[in-house]
């Protein structure tokens, strides 16, 4: 009976064609139209093109010389690196720790996963309050610990030098930290599921051979987790390239002093605020190219082992 299903191809086509058409209309057509748009002059979203750019590759020339684009690329690549080290790294440590406890594992799973279900806009507003200049949570803690310089003026007024968490010295931490925090739980859940799939027999055999906790982790857990870890890393890298909402809510258009651009926020600003749709399309093409290249590199570097 089963073999009959596979021999008769028409039902497969009936199910595949709608999805294929959907992808053509809503993914491939806009994608190729977007590439065409990069050569045109378009003064607003939805407006008709006013003709070709002169020269036609003007937007690509600008892409290579635009200092804000360089900043956006540098920040995005740094964010990608931080994602690998902190998002997946912290998720791995948390997963290994939670895997070793017997009581409360479910509680910690829920707690660590919780940030994922909160909207990025709400998180952005929350972290804006946490890092607020005057009276923000972090600055209040620093003040109560005596870590912020204060000066008593002749008028008797106490002047506090609040720390600006969004200035050039601190903005990377303030921007990246909430992004890391939000997605740690996502990778944590994937990794803990991977840990649950490792057979307990291996640990028992290792314990009989006298292997301590570290050796069991080093020689059993991590090698057995390699494939899941590789998937997490590829997801983290491609996810980092698309980060937009949280930094946009917290930093808006390139704050501070045009040093805070990411490729996503810069593309949005050019397209929707500056009405420079053709240049925004060009940045979008770069994001796609970057995504394809980096995910390929990640796939090759972190290729899942076939031995496991």
């Amino acid at each position: 009976m089963n073999s009959m299903i596979y021999k008769k191809k028409s039902p497969l086509i009936v199910f595949l064609v709608p999805a294929f058409l959907f992808l053509i209309v809503y993914l491939y057509y806009p994608f190729f139209q977007n590439i065409i748009n990069t050569f045109m002059k378009i003064g607003g979203l939805g407006r008709a093109a006013e003709g070709m750019n002169t020269p036609w590759y003007e937007n690509y020339r600008r892409l290579l010389t635009d200092p804000y684009m360089k900043t956006a690329l540098k920040n995005t690549l740094l964010l990608t690196l931080c994602t690998i080290v902190f998002q997946v790294g912290i998720a791995l440590i948390l997963a290994l720790l939670v895997d070793t406890i017997r009581v409360g594992a479910q509680f910690f799973r829920t707690v660590y996963f919780f940030p994922i279900v909160i909207s990025a806009t709400a998180l952005g507003l929350m972290f804006n309050l946490i890092f607020l200049y005057k009276g923000g949570m972090v600055n209040q803690v620093l003040l109560s610990l005596g870590k912020l310089p204060t000066e008593v003026k002749a008028s008797g007024k106490v002047l506090v030098e609040w720390l600006d968490w969004k200035d050039q010295a601190h903005f990377l931490f303030t921007m990246f930290m909430p992004v890391m925090w939000q997605y740690v739980g996502f990778y944590f859940v994937i990794l803990i599921t991977g840990l649950n799939n490792i057979s307990q027999d291996l640990y028992e055999a290792a314990a009989l051979d006298g292997a301590d906790g570290w050796k069991r982790t080093r020689y059993i857990t991590l090698p057995m987790l390699r494939n899941v870890l590789c998937t997490c890393l590829v997801l983290a890298i491609t996810g980092a390239l698309k980060v937009f909402d949280l930094p946009w809510v917290m930093f808006g258009a390139g704050m501070p002093e045009n040093q805070g651009w990411l490729t996503g926020t810069y593309m949005y600003d050019q397209t929707f605020n500056k009405m420079n749709v053709d240049y925004g399309s060009t940045i979008a093409v770069l994001i796609v190219v970057l995504g394809v290249v980096l995910s390929n590199v990640a796939n090759r570097v972190f290729r899942p082992s076939e031995d496991i």
Partner: protein, 418 residues
């Protein structure tokens, strides 16, 4: 028998469905977008007016109001361009509206009056904005003024007098120094988010109220030189440390709160902010409306103001037989003498009979007193720039004040986009 019964039941179902639909048709849902969102001083009045409209007509209003800023303006234009415009829009009536007016996406007053002769008949035609094609499209709401808010408690603590209509630039600089020395922030302003208030007055300070609405045609003409001098005045204030330490990373809301909390002395803002302080100030007596210091030929008694916003009915709503009357009724109710009187305290209106605001509070009275001393008024020159040019210019203010870009280069960039 069974067939007849089935037919009867089906008939009853169809008829009841039809009556339900007919009943549902009586209520129209209007999509409305205005700038009466966020911390707008008239938000409460607008919500009350919408509620009154819903109760009197049985219609529903989907209120998509938000705070007016460059991002909001861009979003409204994008909605028009992508075919998702609202039914009724409260928006700027200047060059900002030209993209959707020239695209034929809103209906002219003339066309509406052909069917509804009394539409906007309570407004002075001479005060209604005229578009580039010579037609009128919007029904004006209340006007606005921009001037200097002062925190009297801070000034008193620093031994500084509340500025009068003869306040000069040199006096202002001396006062700022005194205030800074006393440990307060002289000027509450987010240069990254709302540099335009200071831009308007600094440009006027380097010209006159008469030529304030001139727009540079080239980066090296006299008007551009005036604008550059104004931008350099802002830079001088920034370098002197008179703006908040985080002026390049703070939001407008943060710096306004700095002023409200008694940490800053001066704030240039508009008539819409009076409502904010009415609702949020601990003691309204601590605040007053004064004058922006004058320089050169400009006197401190000359200010920015006018009527810049109005209600548009979109073509989409006009072409929908169900929504046409609902939209006309909505605008008529929101711009009636009675409703507008609740929006107005000290602002001008285009009402033929004038607005009749109820008793004024301390800050509103202060605004009325200051306005009584205003000798001349000009509209905001930024309204004559295209959204692209304005966005570019104001985004570069942070580069100008930090010395990363000269005012002349920033103007050349903006003029190229205008």
């Amino acid at each position: 028998m069974k067939k007849a019964l089935a037919m009867l039941l089906a008939l009853v179902m169809v008829l009841s469905l039809g009556s339900v639909m007919a009943f549902a048709d009586k209520s129209v849902t209007l999509n409305v977008v205005t700038s009466y969102g966020g911390d707008d001083g008239n938000r409460k009045n607008f919500e009350n007016a919408v509620k009154a409209y819903e109760e009197s007509t049985g219609n529903k209003v989907n209120d998509g109001s938000a705070t007016s800023n460059e991002e909001w303006k861009a979003k409204v234009l994008t909605d028009f361009e992508t075919g998702s415009e609202p039914d009724v829009l409260f928006y700027f009536t200047n060059a900002d509206a030209e993209p959707f007016i020239s695209a034929g996406k809103v209906v002219s007053i003339e066309e509406i009056r052909a069917e509804y002769p009394d539409y906007a008949s309570n407004m002075k035609g001479s005060m209604m904005a005229v578009a580039a094609d010579g037609k009128q499209y919007s029904v004006p709401s209340s006007g606005y003024w921009e001037n200097m808010f002062v925190n009297k408690a801070v000034l008193a603590d620093c031994g500084v007098e509340v500025p009068g209509p003869d306040y000069t630039w040199d006096q202002f600089l001396a006062d700022c120094e005194t205030i800074k020395e006393a440990g307060y922030t002289p000027i509450a302003c987010s240069l990254v988010e709302v540099p335009h208030y200071w831009f308007e007055f600094m440009v006027m300070n380097n010209g006159t109220v008469g030529n304030h609405l001139d727009v540079p045609a080239a980066a090296d003409d006299a008007v551009a030189a005036k604008w550059a001098a104004g931008l350099n005045d802002i830079k001088a204030l920034y370098e002197a440390g008179y703006f908040p330490a985080n002026t390049l990373t703070a939001s407008d809301a943060e710096t306004v709160e700095l002023f409200n909390a008694g940490e800053a002395a001066f704030l240039i803002d508009g008539s819409w902010k009076v409502g904010y302080f009415t609702e949020n100030a601990e003691d309204l007596e601590d605040f007053a409306i004064a004058y922006v210091p004058g320089k050169g030929e400009r006197s401190a008694s000359e200010a920015i103001g006018g009527i810049s916003m109005g209600y548009f009915i979109t073509k989409k709503a006009w072409d929908d037989p169900d929504k046409r009357e609902a939209a006309v009724e909505f605008v008529s109710q929101l711009t009636s003498d009675e409703t507008l009187s609740t929006f107005v305290t000290t602002e001008v209106t285009a009402l033929i009979n004038g607005a009749k605001p109820a008793g004024l509070n301390a800050l509103q009275q202060s605004a009325a007193d200051a306005n009584a001393n205003i000798t001349a008024i000009a509209g905001a020159v930024q309204d004559l720039l295209t959204a692209e040019a304005r966005g570019d210019l104001f985004a570069n203010v942070q580069n100008i004040v930090t010395g990363k870009m000269s005012a002349e280069d920033a103007l050349a960039s903006a003029i190229a986009l205008n």
